[in-house]
Symmetry: C2
Subunit: 247 residues, 2 copies
């Protein structure tokens, strides 16, 4: 097994155990966008689910929510690839454009909400307690920097997130994986040409956060891990306390 | 009064009230390094202390701890300038080189600890309950990013910090002031050529954090303020929780 594959497999184990992502015999629904992150997630969860001796045994299947524009420019070849890894893959067609109320413009928030809703509905039907998404360490840290910069709050994309209104729990097993590691793995596996990209994926607010993260971590591989540990380690006595809002 | 002067004065008031920096009739000792930040602090606290109608009346004086190398390249002209603003300025000479134990190398941490110790001793003698330092918003945010990146913790330079072993409290009235604002003010007042710089002040770990902060805030003046508000606003339910350290 290639080093990068082992490395990613180990980091997923770390995230699963450290954040308590799985209970014994959980059924996990993998959100398969077709992007490289979700492919890496599917590959590794397929292996772990199929292994007879995983510390927390679980079962898994994948769902690809196909919208009016997400398959550009690569098509659906990745579906067969994922099936080849032993996962059942279900495709759900949704027109996010048609669902949009009159007068509203399509945006990333709307599309992702619609896709998430389909995953929750399918999880309900298939008895999946967990919905696994392919967000990685860079996504989590970028979101943290974006929330600080624009919302004035310290908050992140959570490795484990419960909904108030749905019984399912979102898990992000790639929480410890650096984006560079995903890129190396996808290249090693020859999967590059099968992954798809959303044509609307310009993500300019995120790009700013990404540049900042690069400035902090370039040439210092430990920085991202340290930042992620920091998210779980707020030192209350070294954070400012506002005592009066008189002004 | 120039706009920038009013703006800085207002932001200092905000910090003093919001973080409860002063009690009525506090005596405040201003740490005067001779750098631009401490000059701006001294200028504004001198005016507020002298004003008959400041909401929290206080008195102030300044101390400059002169070390074996800090006065390069500008000399001590700033002392007379600060005296001209109506503040008593005391100079304390300290050889940080001589104090260093054999076999240790001089570094920023050692020098700043020695200078801080002198301020605390002087505060004790002069009955100052508060020691005011010239750290500004950029310093606070850079320290936060450095601590995340290297210590794995969310912690910042505090606007108000009590010591465990000394009765004095450190206050940072420039907490809301952007470094750019300090630069504009110093230039407007023609103070540039009187401020001194520590010749050892290369601060490379800080330079990385500074670049990241620039990447986040360039062209978006509200970002630094938002980030500072975030420090006082951790959203517990959106920060990861480690449930097991089994790995």
């Amino acid at each position: 097994m290639a080093d990068i594959e082992k490395r990613i497999a180990r980091k997923i184990d770390k995230a699963i155990l450290q954040f308590g992502m799985l209970k014994e015999n959980d059924h996990v629904l993998i959100g398969l966008s077709g992007g490289k992150d979700s492919l890496v997630l599917a590959y590794h969860l397929a292996r772990k689910a199929a292994s007879g001796r995983y510390p927390v045994p679980f079962t898994a299947e994948a769902v690809h929510v196909r919208t009016d524009f997400t398959t550009y420019p690569v098509g659906d070849d990745f579906l067969e690839i994922v099936r080849g890894w032993g996962l059942k893959v279900t495709v759900i067609d949704v027109s996010v454009k048609k669902r949009l109320k009159k007068g509203y413009k399509l945006n990333c928030w709307w599309c992702s909400t619609q896709r998430r809703l389909e995953l929750v509905k399918y999880a309900e039907k298939s008895g999946a307690a967990k919905i696994a998404l392919g967000h990685h360490l860079d996504d989590i840290l970028e979101t943290f920097l974006m929330n600080m910069s624009t919302k004035g709050e310290m908050s992140a994309m959570l490795p484990v997130m419960s909904y108030d209104k749905y019984p399912q729990t979102i898990i992000r097993p790639l929480a410890w994986i650096h984006e560079e590691e995903i890129e190396v793995f996808v290249k090693n596996q020859g999967l590059e040409s099968f992954t798809c990209t959303c044509p609307w994926d310009t993500r300019s607010p995120r790009r700013t956060a990404r540049k900042a993260l690069e400035a902090l971590s370039a040439g210092r591989p430990g920085v991202k891990d340290s930042m992620f540990r920091a998210l779980a380690n707020p030192i209350d006595r070294y954070l400012p306390v506002i005592v009066s809002e008189r002004l």
